[in-house]
């Protein structure tokens, strides 16, 4: 398509106007209000609230939990994608169909079920409690819930790449005497690595902003296990709207950075593939 196209196909002006107005009303206006709120204060105050020790620990908690979960998600997602693409086994279609469930299920329901399941009265909580393990409100359980919300991202980004993988290279590698493990790490892995990284960043970005499930399972200790989104809500409830918006700006910048990273990765993948 070149720039002459608007003259050829009708609708350029109409769709441009509609799109701009919609984005302006829905995205620019609210985010602008947030910026306005944050900037209308003394910049010193802004930095003080944005980098308040409680806020700093909240960012760190968000990042560390989301990162840990995303790492595990990458392995689990790769494993499941690999099994789904390469092997035929009983229940494969069932598994393939249900992988998307975390996309369709409200995350708050996931958080609710996890928090009761691992509580003293729930199946797993009761079982683990008998063995002296108590997971409720631990860091571990939060990461576990983030596994639930995040692993389909990895499966669904890696799966199509695995399917379209060129078999010749693998055969060549085998003919040249490479073991299966060597073939995997030297031939297969490099070609699915971009997809893996994309899946990882998607799961990570999701974990950073997650609220609905975390609020059920986390212990929400300020300075200790409070995450960024939980902090923002908590600040709002404390009626400290300036602190809330300062933290929100930081979270916004972080997620914007993630977005640019993901888009660059996607572009590079498309250019390569």
């Amino acid at each position: 398509m070149n720039r002459l196209a608007p003259k050829v196909l009708p609708g350029f002006g109409l769709t441009l106007g509609f799109t701009l107005a919609y984005l302006g009303f829905l995205v620019v206006l609210p985010l602008g209000a947030l910026l306005f709120q944050a900037l209308s204060n003394n910049p010193m105050d802004f930095f003080q609230s944005a980098f308040h020790p409680r806020a700093l620990s909240a960012y760190w908690n968000s990042v560390s939990m989301a990162f840990t979960a995303a790492i595990f998600n990458t392995f689990i997602g790769l494993l499941i994608a690999w099994v789904l693409v390469r092997y035929k086994f009983f229940g494969r279609r069932f598994m393939d169909a249900l992988i998307d469930l975390p996309f369709a299920l409200p995350t708050s329901v996931a958080g609710f079920v996890y928090s009761t399941l691992y509580s003293e009265r729930g199946w797993l909580g009761e079982f683990l409690g008998q063995n002296g393990i108590y997971l409720t409100h631990t860091w571990f359980l939060t990461v576990l819930v983030l596994l639930f919300t995040g692993f389909p991202f990895v499966v669904r980004t890696v799966q199509p790449v695995l399917e379209e993988l060129d078999g010749d290279l693998e055969e060549a590698s085998a003919i040249l005497g490479a073991s299966r493990l060597q073939t995997f790490s030297n031939v297969i892995l490099p070609s699915i690595l971009p997809a893996l990284i994309t899946g990882f960043s998607l799961a990570f970005a999701r974990g950073l902003g997650e609220y609905g499930s975390i609020v059920f399972v986390s212990s929400n200790l300020p300075y200790r296990s409070e995450t960024g989104p939980v902090l923002i809500v908590s600040r709002l409830e404390e009626n400290a709207i300036n602190d809330a918006s300062a933290a929100a700006i930081v979270m916004l910048l972080a997620s914007f950075g993630m977005l640019l990273l993901i888009n660059t990765l996607q572009k590079r993948r498309q250019a390569n593939g």
Partner: protein
């Protein structure tokens, strides 16, 4: 070129018309709300008592005389409710259990300066005390505030940054310790207390869930009505312990005047606020373990409400402003304690 600009404008107008139309539609299509509606925005743990009051009003002839209003409740932490009401939650009536939260409404011009004097008890038809809930048999032998400091005891309380009752619990604990060991040591004890809290839930009710249903912690700091509710609910698994001293909690219930005026419910709200002082309403209070203002009703339930050595804000800091300054500001005692507690 002008043709393009024209179609761009057409697109913009179409979009705005569609979005505004849809938002208006959502307003119309949302679940039907009665023509006459009273919204009571209240702190978290008042769910049951408000429901019981509204039930009584609906069942009795009172409702007819009032024009059969629809009662609705909104529950959240006290500070969160104050903010929501200030930001336009159309509540006719507000009840907040942490005194400084009323300042938010006063500053926004939502309550009159003299509103306190209109009804007895400073608009609080009830009062209550802080209590402790322990697990069956009280294995750690907890009887009073200082027992919370025992080594292995894990304490459950809501986040004093968001929950009104938690702030009052902090004040009760600190003042009791101050009377025993002096202010410096009391500060230290408060820090040790915060270190013993494994979970800071945002509000009293989520805290109760954590303690009673998820089974975390050895003792929960809560207030009387909530404690009774969970002890009864637990079927003998929990026990109620009364410390000798407690802050006197008197949550005021007041009219949000501009809202009531704009909704035309001023008279109705006045009737409502007066009604909750009548013996029937006070009896319901006692049934839900709130200490009624009505002395006669309280006498009837004497065994339920043993005397408490009440602490007031004057004992602690003189007035609320100072208390907020010392304890609850960022960088105040509670903030320092939470920071220390995080170092574990």
């Amino acid at each position: 070129m002008t043709e393009y600009l024209f179609s761009v404008c057409k697109g913009i107008l179409a979009c705005l018309a569609l979005v505004c139309g849809a938002l208006a539609l959502s307003l119309v299509a949302s679940p039907k709300r009665g023509s006459l509606e009273l919204l009571h925005a209240s702190f978290d743990t008042s769910r049951e008592i408000l429901a019981a009051w509204h039930h009584e009003i609906n069942e009795s002839l009172v409702s007819n005389a009032w024009g059969n209003p629809n009662f609705r409740i909104s529950n959240a932490g006290s500070a969160a409710q104050a903010r929501a009401v200030r930001d336009g939650l159309p509540a006719d009536i507000a009840s907040l259990n942490f005194e400084p939260d009323w300042q938010i409404l006063a500053k926004a011009g939502l309550v009159h300066s003299d509103w306190r004097s209109k009804l007895p008890g400073g608009m609080a038809p009830w009062h209550s005390s802080l209590v402790l809930v322990v697990r069956k048999g009280n294995p750690h032998e907890i009887h009073d505030w200082e027992d919370l400091l025992k080594k292995p005891v894990k304490v459950i309380m809501p986040n004093p940054k968001t929950s009104g009752v938690a702030r009052l619990a902090v004040l009760s604990f600190w003042e009791t310790r101050r009377r025993a060991v002096g202010p410096e040591k009391a500060d230290g004890d408060l820090i040790s207390l915060c270190k013993k809290v494994p979970v800071f839930d945002p509000s009293m009710r989520t805290c109760t869930t954590t303690f009673a249903q998820k089974g975390i912690g050895d003792v929960q700091i809560t207030w009387e009505p909530e404690a009774w509710l969970e002890v009864e609910e637990s079927g003998g698994k929990l026990e109620l312990i009364r410390p000798k001293t407690s802050f006197r909690i008197e949550p005021a219930i007041g009219m949000v005047e501009p809202v009531a005026k704009s909704k035309g419910t001023t008279l109705l709200v006045q009737k409502y606020l007066e009604w909750i002082y009548n013996p029937v309403a006070q009896e319901i209070l006692a049934k839900y373990h709130f200490r009624p203002l009505d002395k006669n009703v309280e006498k009837l339930h004497q065994d339920q409400f043993p005397p408490v050595d009440w602490i007031t804000i004057e004992d602690i800091a003189g007035d609320w402003e100072k208390a907020v300054e010392i304890f609850f500001k960022d960088g105040g005692l509670v903030d320092r304690a939470l920071k220390e507690a995080a170092k574990r």
